[in-house]
Symmetry: C2
Subunit: 206 residues, 2 copies
């Protein structure tokens, strides 16, 4: 019978603890099935306390999914800015970062959340498109155009459709969270093969 001690906290820290708990709960059960009391319990506080930091459930949710502003995006933007870095390497780096920072961490659940609950929260979707997707596609477009110029693409027309680059990433997320239990997908192989398909072989004229 663990007696819970009343404990004051730095508001910032408490807020962070609530967000962490909410992250875990929403990841596991989605928006609708998560009870505010679950979040509170997980954060080790009482239900009412949550409401001292967030006006309502929806605000907690949107704050959460918006707050995980892609650290990946920044890294890729950096790589793309440097013209000395081969586009193929930059995109390969993107996949590597994606695997390491999203696919193989709990963040993958968050990405699923956005896919799953998106239509219920247009504000979140709009935010994601504006802040992540559209910027990311811009970077990819630059990289693909550069690769096309240098004759590195097997089919230069894909430079117009940068979405194609994120297709395998999306697939991997969906697969991992839905079907991995029934059939394993080797994401390393997936990304490698895809890169190899997009770009002309490296050793072509060594």
């Amino acid at each position: 019978m663990a007696e819970r001690k009343r404990e004051k906290r730095d508001p910032q820290q408490r807020r962070a603890e609530i967000l962490a708990a909410a992250f875990a709960c929403f990841s596991e059960r989605g928006f609708a099935a998560t009870r505010m009391e679950d979040v509170a319990t997980r954060a080790g506080i009482a239900k009412g306390t949550v409401y001292l930091h967030f006006p309502d459930k929806e605000a907690l949710f949107t704050e959460l999914v918006s707050g995980i502003a892609s650290p990946i995006l920044g890294r890729i933007e950096g790589l793309a800015a440097n013209e000395a870095i081969p586009p193929r390497f930059a995109i390969s780096m993107f996949y590597t970062l994606f695997r390491r920072e999203v696919l193989e961490t709990d963040r993958r659940h968050l990405l699923r959340l956005i896919l799953a609950e998106g239509p219920m929260f247009p504000a979140v979707t709009e935010f994601y498109h504006r802040e992540i997707i559209s910027k990311g596609l811009g970077v990819l477009r630059t990289l693909l155009a550069r690769a096309a110029d240098r004759g590195e693409l097997r089919h230069p027309a894909i430079a117009d459709i940068p979405q194609i680059v994120i297709a395998p990433a999306l697939l991997s997320i969906v697969w991992m969270t839905l079907f991995e239990a029934y059939e394993h997908l080797d994401t390393q192989k997936l990304f490698d093969a895809f890169l190899e398909t997009l770009f002309v072989p490296e050793g072509g004229a060594k």
Copy 2:
């Protein structure tokens, strides 16, 4: 004040009407936010009547998503069985069917539902993997192997990862249901460009 006449129906027909209503409701609002009374009203009947045909909400949902057994799968299986049909044409046909039968119809919402609610209904996910995904991947594997044998793939190793073929389809579904409102994606171009990337150019050695 439209008075609703009590009306007996052929059970099969009634059942179908309920499923159609459920399809509309679940598509629009997801599982949690759909009320059984919404479904009933939409079907033009009283709430209790729904329960004469389905034991509970979950059964209605799983019946619905399982029942839309892919008509596409059969068509593709047919194309793959005929070795005279070029693999590239078969896969191109797959994309065309996918666009016409899923992406541009209300069925796209159903596919989203499976993505979104999948983890909450393992039985549905398992069913989909067993009946659709694993069979579909089998067909694709056959097609890709044949294409590789004939030297038609730019990168033969992808024959091992048939998932790559469904990546753009998945992307198109997600894009259409989340971001299309903010930024248009030309799915025709997406699929065409992707095909062109997978396969060696047609006119190579006519």
